[in-house]
């Protein structure tokens, strides 16, 4: 397994491990999750864990990139962009309809929920990116 493939696995694992509990908390406790320490904590945790994982990978595996890596990266970013675009569009449409008809959504801090939803789309896009890379590395090796 190449460094890049291992990196994709590491990124996917870290993303799932950090963001599943994060979004579970944010969507279950929308008011409590407004605490900035929650978000700062998530950023710190994911940065540190991701950095440690990649340091460990770099010690044991040489980082090389060739045309096959570039093709896989291009396809994975394309898929990630599509997920992000569809997700952002759905959030936009949902926000619009909830703005013109507030009864559509229960009484929650609307802006924070929209921000969390957009961030969720971004994280989903990143997971699509890593998953596509993993699938293509398995298929093209």
């Amino acid at each position: 397994m190449s460094y890049r493939e291992k990196s994709s696995w590491a990124n996917l694992a870290v993303t799932l491990a950090v963001f599943i509990p994060y979004f579970w908390y944010v969507f279950r406790e929308p008011v409590a999750s407004l605490n900035p320490l929650v978000h700062i904590g998530v950023v710190i945790v994911i940065s540190v864990v991701s950095a440690l994982a990649h340091i460990a990978l770099a010690i044991f595996t040489k980082d090389e990139r060739d045309e096959r890596d570039a093709i896989i990266e291009t396809k994975s970013y394309r898929n990630a962009y599509l997920v992000l675009a569809v997700g952002a569009m759905l959030v936009s449409i949902g926000s619009y309809f909830s703005a013109i008809n507030p009864e559509l959504l229960p009484s929650r801090p609307l802006l924070a929920q929209v921000a969390a939803a957009i961030f969720f789309c971004f994280v989903l896009a990143e997971m699509t990116n890593w998953t596509t890379q993993i699938v293509l590395y398995r298929r093209l090796s």
Partner: protein, 74 residues
């Protein structure tokens, strides 16, 4: 739309050229060993430039290394 298969003789040619390792070939043409493995298994088709580099490494023409086989007739 017809799908083509591109066969190659890379593995055989490596052994015929002083039992060249996958790593040695990878370093000569500027790719990773994993890509050499993918090429030998026909899981990945090289770009034109890479195909020429590989053929040049073995001192052969392109069609001596890679063979095109259409699977459906158009």
């Amino acid at each position: 739309m017809s799908e083509a298969i591109i066969h190659n003789q890379i593995r055989k040619l490596r052994f015929e050229h002083g039992e060249m390792t996958q790593q040695a070939l990878a370093e000569q043409v500027g790719i990773t060993r994993q890509t050499v493995i993918a090429l030998e298994r026909s899981k990945y088709y090289p770009s034109l430039e890479l195909a020429f580099k590989i053929a040049h490494t073995f001192g052969l023409g392109l069609e001596d290394v890679f063979q095109y086989e259409p699977t459906d007739s158009s």
